[in-house]
Amino acid sequence: MKKVSVSFTLNGDSVTAEVPVTWTLLKTLREYFELTGAKEGCGVGECGACTVIMDGEAINSCLCPIPEVEGRSVTTIEGLADEDGTLHPLQEAFLKNNGVQCGFCTSGMIMSSKALLDHNPDPTEDEIRTSIAGNFCRCTGYVQIVESVKMAAKDGK
């Protein structure tokens, strides 16, 4: 398999990956960098479990061919907490408000929410729901996820 060398910023570090050209960003994160927080829930961009932030936008990393990541900046769930382990307000809020149950959708859910709050620190419920419209969850009915994002927005102010 033809390999490609891709250099980009990953959670603040400059990195280079040498991976098969057909790999997606999700596969590269999980297999090459062993960052397994982003999940494959469907593999076709429908469920959002693989959501990461690339250049400020939440994207489905399962749909992103690795060559497209050259020179970009990628943040994953692993890059969210402070280096000393202090959790991001979103992470805290999800634990506090029961925004997480089985947890499989949680990484993607939090990353979509983070992209929202980075652009819009004081979102309405509609805006929150729209930002996670592509993130499926079977456990929560979304109610406490939305509450978690609201709380994080409030705490972030």
Binding site: K39, Q101, C105, I110, N135
Partner: protein, 798 residues
Amino acid sequence: MEEKMPDHLFVGKSIPRTIEADKVTGKAVYIDDLKRPGMLYGKILYSKHAHAKIKKIDTSKAEKLEGVRAVLTGQDIPDVRVGFLKDQTVLKKDVVRQYRDEVAAVAAISPEIAAEAADLIKVEYEKLPAVFDPFEAMKQESQLVHELDARGRPLKSNILPLPWKFEAGDMEQARKDSTYISKDTVSTTWVNQCCMGTSGCIAEFDQNNNLTLYDQTNVIFGHIGRITEYFSQIGLRGKKIRVVNPVVGGSFGTKLDTDIYEFIAIQLALKTRKPVKILFDRKEEFRALPPRQPAVFTIEQGCDKEGRLTFRHCEAILDNGAYTSWGATTPSVMIMPMSSLYRVPNVYFKATCVYTNNIYAQAMRGYGNPQATFAVETSMDTLAEKAGIDPAEFRLINRNRPGDDTPMKLRITSCGLEECITAVKEKLNWDNKKGKQKGRGVGMASLIHVAGGARVTKSDGHGIMVKLDEYGHVDVIESGTDQGQGSPTVISQIVAEALGVRPEDIFLTFGDTALALWDAGTHASRHTFMAGNAAIGACAKAKRQILEMAVEQMPKIIKSGFKRKKRKDPGFVEPDLDFGLIANPEDMDIRDRMIFPKNDPDHPHFKLPLTQILQNGLHVGIGQSKVVVAEEFYDPPTEMLNWEMKGNLSMTYAFGTCGVEVEVDEQTGEIKILNLVSAHDVGKAMNPTLLLGQIYGAAYTGVGYGLTEEIKVQNGRVMNPSFRDYQMLTAMDVVPIEAVIIEPIDEAGPYGAKGVGEPGLVPTAPAIANAVYDAVGVRITDLPITPEKILTALKERK
């Protein structure tokens, strides 16, 4: 004499899920993330037909592909039957009976190579006539799905030899005594559990052929039973099996049975001598995972002129699909709502499961109860209308009450159904909104469910082990599993409360058969109830050990403290202390990490940290060291159902009512839920925030069941195997949900709690159907209630 209980420090509080912080940082290791050294990846090749003879399988190209380590067909492994009625083999050798039949399997060094190899396997089939409609399949002349039963005896019919039948009272007399009778036929369809984490496992043998299975099952010991039986037939009798849970990405019933892919992973691991992982992709999850069982019910109910139910008569036909898993046993749970939801003295229920060439079914949250409750609660509304009684009032007249014995011999202890119905009425402003039509309407439905264990096997036991180290860390080895329901937090609250430590001192291990005592399974909404009671028992024993240690060590610690002080300060005068206060373990207590005499909790000298006692108790000297460890195996005094399907199988029962207000657009058939109230009798809310999460999530899945979700099966084939086409609800489908918590503290429950995992889902769909009827006057009797069905019904009415 009962001692005055101090206020709870942790139970009943909304403690955050900090114990699961790994889930918000990407650190939690799911089966997707787990790798073992040298691990291979398995891939399954499924049938291309609903019913066909396998003429020939050519695996030569697959075997030659670089990176392939094993290719297996039914010819390569022992012909051992598995499943509830032993009606299938792991890989099918001669005949396929459904599209998801496993025909061959590959193990390779990467998932991509495994998939490519599976594609290279050529199978020649000879198509056979198939039957997809259970009513057709029941006919004498129908094509048989199975020619022979598990013992090789010829079968004459597609009807499963499972005569699910329940009778109580005098049906004939009851009909005569009825002033009003209603009759309805309702049906429900296949729905997928839609766990966000797909199915998967890793099978690994050690050199001595002992198996470790990294597996998502919520019945870890049931898995061992089934695999042990399988092993005894493939030459591995007596080998040790260990089942270990990774973090589990949802369960909802999918992980109750041992599925075929798990046996395939075992066979591939055995063949290659390497760990083998099988992980479903989403399409496979929709096509090859047994979903919730579809059913058709014909239900009749009668009542007298005061509106008291006289009888309930119901016959159900269940499309079983080609093989049996737990789906075929869901009628055993349907008997519960059929016989015991509302007071009804005379009951007849019969369920017939029929083999077809469709996909076979499993359990899903509620285990038959959502289907049966849809039938009962549809009928409650139609009968109320015939009797001219408001449906809410009709339900109140017939509500279950504390102290009732139901026809099924369920003993109703605590029961908050009246409060639930009343709360829903109030919150929906029922009396003002009911019967106004014009596109807006309200509806309700209730439920009963087991909430204090469920004796479906001879033991309904649950074990827990509690172990303290000298630093005050508490290891809790839990025999249940955690699939996201919040048990780590709730159990740590209970242990902290019962032991006198803090939730952050608790470290839980779930789902490891090598460490845990036995458990019947984390199913039937039983975990908090069972683990809670077991934990309270184990903690009482551990606490006793600590207090015995304390009465031994405390005087020594205190006296040597005085000696030290005296050495430093010769003028120090030792206080005159009554050591009798701390002479007996019964007189001592532990709370918030401190040990003290009960009669003087703030004694200036006799209040010492738990860790000090633990350290002094351990580091004593030769032959006297002590550690604290205790276990409890809790098996409640419940009954297995007898041959008449009667018996008190749970210590207590959950009740609840869902009320819905809808708006229906008569031009488009679109339904909008304006308000959903879900009221639940939970005994005691152990952690209100987590409890709400269970209710919201279940109600939401119930809305999907009611309005959108359906696996479209056409001639045996799943036509919509993706999230996009399946239409699970998203965050954009806003359902304003309000939960109402009713707490009739249940004597049998830990701190009064009942189970609540499944109840929220059960009454949602019928509540919506009843609200739609109230809004536009058409009754949709087959789920899901789609706009198309509403428009068709509106057209027919005109």
